[in-house]
């Protein structure tokens, strides 16, 4: 439990992931980021199964969740997280292209902690991702790891 808690970035588009990483790199938080490429991988990570079976126990400090992803989409992942007592405390930030009211309403209804629309303009995007990374990864105090992982 000595390692820094990771930031989980769920992003199916490798270019978006790269741009996000590039943004975080500027503030040296990129090495804390774990990238998942679809919803199923996110759930595998959170439940330590599949390719993440061997990972160190513990919840990520924050989950950046894209809405539109293959296999299991963002809203389903969000529902799974918020319905699990163990995972519920993890802050979830929706990071998406959609400005649709429907998506906003559904995300908040399911318990999203924040909703950020990815700006088209790179500078704005970089600023947004950087600030998100710093706020949730550095400034914000994550919930205590209360439950026994073996339970």
């Amino acid at each position: 439990m000595t390692t820094v808690k990771p930031i989980l970035l769920a992003e199916d588009n490798p270019r978006d992931a790269e741009l996000a990483l590039a943004a975080m790199e500027e503030h040296h938080i990129a090495d804390k980021v774990v990238v998942c490429h679809d919803g199923a991988e996110v759930l595998d990570y959170l439940y330590c199964r599949g390719i993440f079976a061997a990972r160190e126990q513990g919840n990520p400090v924050v989950v950046f969740l894209d809405l539109k992803m293959p296999k299991v989409d963002g809203l389903e992942v969000l529902r799974a997280i918020k319905n699990d007592a163990n995972l519920k405390p993890i802050p979830v930030v929706m990071l998406t292209s959609s400005r649709e009211e429907r998506d906003l309403a559904q995300s908040y209804a399911l318990g999203a902690n924040a909703y950020v629309v990815k700006p088209v303009e790179f500078h704005q995007f970089i600023t947004a991702v950087k600030e998100l990374g710093i706020f949730w990864g550095v400034i914000n105090e994550p919930p205590p790891e209360s439950s026994d992982p073996s339970a």
């Binding site: 588009n13 270019r15 978006d16 741009l19 590039a22 809405l67 539109k68 998406t96 292209s97 959609s98 400005r99 649709e100 990815k118 700006p119 088209v120 303009e121 790179f122 500078h123 995007f125 970089i126």
Partner: protein, 494 residues
């Protein structure tokens, strides 16, 4: 629908009349004219004409049947009379015969008991004759005969009475010559002849009436049959029309429903489309701008000015396309969004809009003339968008003026609608292009003159149309422009 039903029969009618006018003449054109006239009628007129015809037929049939029945009733009354008359004539003759033979026996024997039947006849005769007169009030000939009969009867009875008196006075010898033949031989023969005539005439009349009755009964039955048939036709056509109408209504309702479903499906598809646009079209743009920025950062030092400008252009174009997509999505949402109707205070609305635009007002010299505006009925968020767009436009196109003049006011309140205008002293436009002003992505200025995607006025028009109002504009190059819109006073949705 009406025009279709009128058009189609006209063609064959006019085609029909052509060879007629060439080949034959006199009687046919009249029916041809009627046919043509009929062909011009609408379906409703034809139905009405058909019903009128059938109805008139039924009325005529009813009238004739009524008359026939009256005749039958009258005939049956006359028949009863005739039968009574014939019977009465028999009785009269019998009574006269009895009187005659009675008086004759008295003349021979002088036995008073023989006068009993004679006296009874004399007593009854006036009653008989009165009755007889009552039965023959039709037909002058018969009446005449009855009169003659009366006279003869009276004279017979008188003659017999005279003979009886003579017998009393002078005894058998005085009336011997009468005793054999009777006192009124001539009268009796004449009476018999008259009675026979009366009887025969009456029988003939009776027979004729029976014939007439049978004929008119047959007639009536046939007419009633025809009437029943016409009523059946009427009922059948009413049924057919109602059935046709109901079927038509059902068909229209079904079609409306299926169209509604199609429209709903199309709307859903459109929604899915714009959702997908907002998700998927933005991502590559972000990548273009992002990688251009990364490239510029990674290799910026080694690039020359030209290459840096290229990168900048790539980045700018991506941003512009992002803006276009956003505008298009807003525009599409404006058309689908549900409207919330409340009373909107336009004075208040303008104040908030100007507050929102305060950043654009910085460093500008603007003289505002804002007249009091009325309250209107509408969706506040949408109407706010209208004023944001119109005022932003006014600000944008007056940017080149040392002092911008912007005036907002209400037009004269006409019946049923409120008119609002926004006027500026900006660069204006050529009225020749006025139709393009409110089109989607239509622009009257080059991008390096005035920025914009060309969606603002399209949004204004869409919003005002959804409120049931109108938009229009006037202007001249370099002389400013005025944009008007109207809102109906009574709420009407679109």
């Amino acid at each position: 629908m009406e025009s279709v039903t009128q058009e189609s029969p006209t063609t064959p009618a006019s085609v029909h009349s052509e060879p007629i006018s060439h080949s034959s003449q006199a009687p046919i054109p009249k029916t041809g004219w009627l046919m043509e006239r009929f062909a011009h009628w609408s379906i409703e007129q034809r139905v009405l004409a058909g019903f009128g015809l059938v109805f008139a037929g039924i009325v005529v049939i009813s009238a004739i049947s009524y008359r026939n029945t009256s005749v039958l009733l009258e005939n049956s009354r006359l028949d009863t009379k005739s039968h009574e008359l014939v019977q009465l004539l028999g009785s009269v003759e019998e009574a006269l015969g009895a009187a005659e033979s009675g008086h004759r026996r008295y003349l021979v024997t002088g036995d008073e008991s023989y006068l009993k039947s004679y006296r009874a006849t004399v007593e009854q005769m006036p009653e008989y004759l009165r009755y007889l007169r009552g039965l023959v009030n039709e037909g002058a000939e018969q009446r005449d005969r009855v009169e003659r009969l009366e006279r003869l009867i009276t004279s017979q009875l008188k003659a017999e009475a005279g003979a009886i008196i003579q017998r009393e006075k002078r005894g058998y010898e005085g009336v011997r010559h009468l005793a054999l033949t009777g006192a009124a031989k001539n009268e009796i023969e004449e009476i018999h002849r008259l009675t026979t005539d009366l009887d025969m005439t009456e029988q003939r009349a009776l027979h004729a009436r029976v014939e007439e009755s049978a004929g008119s009964t047959k007639n009536t039955i046939a007419l009633l049959g025809l009437g029943a048939f016409l009523q059946l036709v009427l009922l059948a056509s009413v049924y057919f029309l109602i059935h046709h109408d109901i079927a038509e209504r059902r068909r229209v309702a079904a079609e409306l429903q299926s169209r509604g479903e199609l429209l709903q499906a199309a709307n859903k598809e459109l929604e899915a489309f714009s959702y997908s646009v907002s998700h998927d079209l933005r991502a590559p743009l972000r990548h273009i701008d992002g990688y251009a920025a990364l490239l510029s950062k990674a290799a910026g030092e080694t690039l020359n000015d030209k290459a840096r400008r290229y990168l900048q252009t790539i980045s700018n174009s991506a941003k512009q396309m992002g803006q276009l997509i956003d505008d298009l999505l807003v525009f599409s949402r404006m058309g689908r969004q549900d409207m919330l109707y409340t009373t909107v205070n336009l004075d208040q609305l303008i104040k908030t809009v100007l507050h929102d635009l305060r950043l654009d007002l910085q460093g500008r010299t603007i003289s505002w003339t804002i007249h009091p505006l009325p309250n209107v009925s509408g969706d506040p968020a949408m109407l706010r968008q209208v004023f944001v767009n119109l005022i932003s436009n006014a600000l944008k196109f007056t940017a080149t003026r040392p002092e911008a003049k912007i005036e907002i006011g209400a037009g004269p309140r006409t019946s049923g609608e409120t008119e609002v205008f926004v006027r500026d002293n900006g660069v204006g436009f050529d009225m020749q292009y006025v139709n393009k002003l409110f089109g989607v992505f239509q622009r009257l200025h080059r991008n390096d003159e005035f920025e914009g995607t060309g969606i603002g006025l399209a949004n204004v028009r869409r919003i005002i149309h959804r409120h049931g109002g109108r938009t229009w504009a006037e202007g001249a190059p370099d002389q400013g422009a005025t944009f008007h819109f109207s809102l109906p006073l009574a709420r009407s949705l679109r």
